[in-house]
Symmetry: C2
Subunit: 320 residues, 2 copies
């Protein structure tokens, strides 16, 4: 929740001259998004989002992210569409940072998740997976098994500061997942971070997906497992099986899940819970004094992890 | 630069149902403004600013601020126009805070001030002063002499931490102003905080004034003195007499300044410099750990104060 880079009106006007977007009428820093600097830019032609990529996003990954959004948008996925400048480039520079202008998506993200939202997310996720199938670029998932091991090594010494016994629990979980992690499941481009603040709705109808800056190539079913964790738990940490059933069923109507994918869901959900637990734990233990962003509670994902560890089979998710 | 209160989509939709503004399409927290929480709200009817008043703004002052904006807007001043709800009220409640919806002003604020901007500000300030003349409510200026004395008392013990000798300099200045402060100058509603980030331009043409939350009743010429300090110094602290001349001349074309007002300008400019120096000093010495807002440098206003103290008469401002 922060603007990291201040852009002057002069700099912005010079930047926009490179585009065929009309005359600048207004721009405002948006107090959302923790990785990048975002501005809402209103011109005589319409409304846009201007993103300046701060150092947490690697410059070499940007062609993948920008190209993916363009690819998905061309295939009808409601997501920010990169605007190409007059010189044909969609990725340029502003205030010394890589910068991109994209279309503005209307809709609001849901703070209170209802079952129909989960249904919409399941369908949109499957549609995105299909639309990304013929995307030419690929990007490895840096936050899969190897990345978890690295995060574990970086946090295990101090993990018990957050909860006694946490280091041992995470170590055991990591070893279990390293043994049981599936291979050979259907793969492709996944969003990998489809949390409620990255999905817009108008009334209760899904109107778009944003923030593709964790997108990568991995199992499709792992993306669904991320969404189960992000959308189907109640604030009191109880698992809402109705939401899960609606989400998975809606996904399957767009893209059928193989028996192997279904069988792997519990372990994928454990892996997904561990992934967000570890990054949150890392951020929690490495808080920067005076930082603008308050780290998220890692313990929320301890509870989610334990739930999935106790799951016998996919009937726990309301499906057969 | 912070959103202080998070508003859920449900809360916002319920709130907007009280207005005739169409259907909610989007809302984003704006990373500007340090006193209140601001959102840009886009509906099927248009774009609006939603402001939630945080505790730094006194609730009992809100009818003055909201009423003033409505009064000025009705008289053609380009400023945010409060939108009245279906029940006729322009000030309502959201998330436990007083809240108002206003029209959205296009334009961008200038990071690099050029002489024509100062000319525009002078004219707009005089127009605002005339338009506010028949506004029925009034509000005392809490940040005039009495307020400065209180701020001085609260900061003098530690002022030398910021610059050796500062406490003595401020004490002497305050005593001098208490003796020489004028009385009986033409008065009315002043903006009292017309800094560059509160003035919007399209190209180089002034398109609107915002942020009336320091507005109060005081000498019109004091408001002009605030603008001299806010707009006519260069980043290296040198005083740009061309900017000052353009600003004051443009003001006088809209609202003539009496000989007494002109003669008082140097002392009013000293007072204005002291006012911002003291509030910045107070904020500097009372920084909250982990606060989202970085306090502004008080020493900038020490330099401005010294400039005006060395001014013989108004020829130093490029006028006669």
């Amino acid at each position: 929740m922060a603007v990291y880079t201040d852009v002057s009106d002069d700099d912005l006007e010079t930047f926009l001259e490179g585009y065929d977007v009309g005359e600048l009428l207004s721009f405002k820093g948006i107090a959302e998004g923790v990785e990048n600097t975002n501005f809402m830019v209103i011109t005589s032609r319409g409304t846009y989002i201007l993103t300046l990529y701060e150092k947490r996003v690697k410059a070499e990954d940007l062609p993948f992210f920008i190209g993916l959004m363009e690819h998905l948008a061309m295939r009808g996925v409601a997501c920010p569409t990169p605007i190409r400048a007059r010189d044909g480039s969609a990725l340029r520079t502003l205030c010394g940072r890589p910068a991109a202008l994209t279309s503005f998506l209307t809709g609001v993200w849901q703070r209170r998740i209802l079952p129909p939202h989960c249904q919409g997310v399941g369908a949109a996720l499957a549609t995105m997976h299909k639309a990304g199938a013929d995307f030419a670029l690929s990007r490895a998932n840096a936050l899969s098994l190897t990345g978890w091991r690295a995060l574990y090594d970086a946090t295990q010494e101090r993990a018990d500061e957050v909860q006694p016994g946490l280091a041992a629990e995470l170590g055991a979980e990591l070893r279990a997942l390293e043994t049981s992690w599936p291979s050979g499941l259907p793969s492709g481009v996944i969003h990998a971070d489809l949390f409620p603040d990255n999905v817009f709705f108008k009334r209760d109808r899904l109107s778009g997906l944003i923030d593709f800056y964790f997108a990568c190539n991995d199992f499709f079913a792992y993306d669904l497992a991320i969404c189960l964790n992000a959308w189907c738990f109640e604030p009191d940490s109880s698992f809402n099986v109705t939401k899960a059933r609606l989400m998975i069923s809606a996904y399957r109507r767009e893209r059928p899940l193989s028996p192997a994918e279904l069988a792997a869901l519990p372990v994928l959900a454990r892996g997904s819970a561990l992934r967000f637990l570890l990054t949150r734990l890392y951020d929690w233990l490495n808080q920067v004094d005076g930082a603008l962003v308050r780290p998220k509670d890692p313990l929320e994902y301890v509870r989610k992890l334990r739930f999935h560890r106790g799951v016998g089979d996919i009937t726990a998710y309301g499906i057969k």
